[in-house]
């Protein structure tokens, strides 16, 4: 948040002016009637990266393309599609980039291993610090 300054030059300043005047797609800003399906759709939308503003999920974006994506996701969830299937469908088109949730592709394995490695390194650095034998009292 260093300088929230220019909170989103990209999100608002540029795209808003270069967006179509069409009203938003039907489910861009309308929830599904079934709260369970809506929650599913929402969880997925929170983890799909917006193509236009690039630093927000489509759930938090005013860009019209993000609105269209939200609408499409809600419609497909309502039609019974599995969220992870929609995610893979999008990854097929835009690559791993589009998913804020890192995928299981091999280039991301070190990222998932990071906590274990860091903890191990930490314990290794710490090992000499703590007296191991029980105090003999």
């Amino acid at each position: 948040m260093r300088t929230l300054i220019a909170l989103i030059l990209m999100l608002f300043a540029a795209p808003v002016l270069a967006q179509s005047a069409l009203p938003p797609a039907p489910y861009a800003d309308r929830q599904l009637d079934d709260p369970r399906l809506e929650a599913k759709a929402r969880d997925l939308m929170m983890t799909i990266r917006c193509l236009t503003c690039q630093s927000q999920s489509i759930a938090d974006s005013n860009a019209s393309m993000a609105g269209d994506m939200r609408s499409q996701i809600r419609e497909r969830i309502a039609a019974g599609e599995d969220p992870e299937a929609i995610r893979s469908w999008l990854i097929e088109r835009y690559g791993d980039w589009v998913s804020y949730e890192p995928t299981a592709s091999p280039i991301l394995w070190p990222l998932w291993a990071a906590p274990v490695i860091l903890l191990a390194l930490g314990f290794w650095l710490m090992r000499g610090r703590i007296r191991r034998r029980k105090a003999s009292s």
């Binding site: 179509s20 019209s64 393309m65 269209d68």
Partner: protein, 176 residues
């Protein structure tokens, strides 16, 4: 702390430094290329976007002859800027179809009347669904489609005069 652990922070910093330097040296690359290049174009049928051009479906893009598919919108400024280049491509023999994104017929008519109409067919993609299905991330973009309906090349952003030969080259390659 053992001897080498003392130098570990400096080593890590040098690694980060190299990473930062490579990030700075690399040309600014914010474009997200479509992963659909090399794959067949998704099946679709779109209604006509303009009054004097027919509608567009995926079948129209697999006619045995390579074509360009231009993704544009009447509300998009760079799309107007690339109009002369599209005209030049058409003059050079390229056949160009188009998809208008989130658009209205009256606006498209007005846009084409003002900036010229190089297109054979124009489909209207009111909800960006074809755009998303093709892995396109904005307007304008231009795809080269071969005669069998496979996407062979994607040009992101407006076409500049210097891009025209490349696109013609890709079109020729697709025809072989």
């Amino acid at each position: 702390m053992s001897r080498w652990a003392i130098w570990l922070p400096l080593g890590l910093f040098l690694a980060f430094f190299a990473l930062f330097a490579s990030g700075l040296l690399k040309p600014d690359d914010r474009v997200i290329a479509s992963k659909m290049v090399g794959k067949p174009i998704p099946a679709f049928t779109l209604p006509a976007a303009a009054s004097d051009r027919p509608a567009l479906s995926s079948a129209d893009l697999a006619t045995g002859k390579p074509r360009l598919l231009n993704i544009f919108a009447s509300w998009c400024v760079p799309c107007a800027a690339e109009a002369p280049q599209l005209m030049a491509l058409k003059q050079a023999g390229a056949e160009i179809d188009a998809v208008a994104i989130r658009d209205a017929r009256a606006d498209v008519d007005q846009f084409l009347g003002r900036w010229g109409n190089p297109y054979a067919r124009i489909g209207l993609d009111a909800r960006s669904s074809l755009q998303i299905a093709m892995g396109s991330s904005g307007v304008p973009e231009t795809f080269v489609i071969d005669g069998k309906g496979t996407i062979v090349h994607q040009h992101i952003g407006d076409i500049r005069a210097e891009d025209v030969p490349t696109i013609l080259e890709k079109l020729k390659e697709a025809g072989r």
